[in-house]
Amino acid sequence: MNIMNLFQGVATLFYQEPLISGARIVLIFLGILLVYLGKKGTLEPLVMIPMGFGMSAVNAGVLFLSATTTGTIFMDPMVSDTNGLMNILQIDWLQPIYTFTFSNGLIACIVFMGIGVISDVGSVLRFPFTSMLIAMFAELGTVATFPIAKLFGLTNGEAAAVSVIGTADGPMVLYTSLMLAKDLFVPITIVAYLYLSLTYGGYPFLVRLLIPKHLREIVVKSTRNENISSAKKLAFAVVANTILCLLFPVAAPLFVSFFLGVAIRESGIVKYIKLIEEVFLYGATFFLGLMLGVLCEASTILNPKILILLVLGMIALLLSGIGGIIGGYVVYLISGKNFNPTIGIAGVSCVPTTAKVAQKEVHLVNKYCFILQYAMGANICGVITSAILTGIYVTLIPML
């Protein structure tokens, strides 16, 4: 008996093309590194630990499926014909989750529903114009990356999908790439989640670079501290959802998911809130991380466009951060200098990370400065504007 047939994970390393084998080894170590960085808190542990685990496992666990083909029994994202899919569903252990929750965008919608449940839209209702203005400025990367991506030779769908990284909203990137760039959705989503994990570490430097200390320590004097009733918030969720679904039926699943989450929160149905927040949101985030890791199998992810995506993803997030800060400055000037421009970074809709970054940065220079309610308003408006821009891209691009 050939001992190599017993240890097929090792044997396939020698059987596959050297490029694939090399990539497998790199990805195994990258997966271990992601777990380490997740544990350390450098990257978002909720996504990175299952993702890194899946990445190292899938690249190690390659076996001979026949005398001439190699693969895994995790899942096959490339299977397209119905018969093949029915077979694979009975063999590959993660295939049912991929087919029934991932490839149709359900998992993105569940995460979005969870975001809705944890989002208090009170700040949005208190400062609607300020929050929306900042959020739209913070979409600079989402639109400005599109022509840059076209310059790099991407198709309209691919360019739109990679531009949506600028929304800093993982479920949105997943949804757009599934709708517009199915061939590239794995690398685009992975790049997006990797970068999103880094925003907590990167954006503070951007804030310190672009906003001088004397402006970061501004205390906003507010004359409006009225309580926003749950009924008002619920009415907003229902009306905004209906209007956005009317305008962009293609993105309706995203709108419904987010505003349903908000509606459930404001209805005060405790059992649903607990179900969505503690079970759906964490369950979906866990499987999202694991699936993203498992999708990083060397033969699937090795795409000549990956380097371009890495560059464009960074450009998109950088431009959105700069745009948000410009928005902060605009509101600062409009309001007669009674506004802290740091709040602008919260327009980038990475809920609640960027709002926390804004609060943390002002707190470092002024212990008595609390801007969280303004930052959360901009942050949640960022989610809404991200969904709107995603809806526009998903509707507009197929028409071009």
Binding site: P128, M132, K150, F236, I388
Partner: protein, 43 residues
Amino acid sequence: MNESIMVALQVYGLGFVISLVIAVLIKGISFVFDRLSGENKVK
């Protein structure tokens, strides 16, 4: 290139208008609710 810039401008312009509409809508909802609850009545 020009075409892609036009697409980006269209997306941004449309997004801006819709966001503004949503902000106006929020103001409208607040106004209606305040009226109904009598908070804004002139005394």
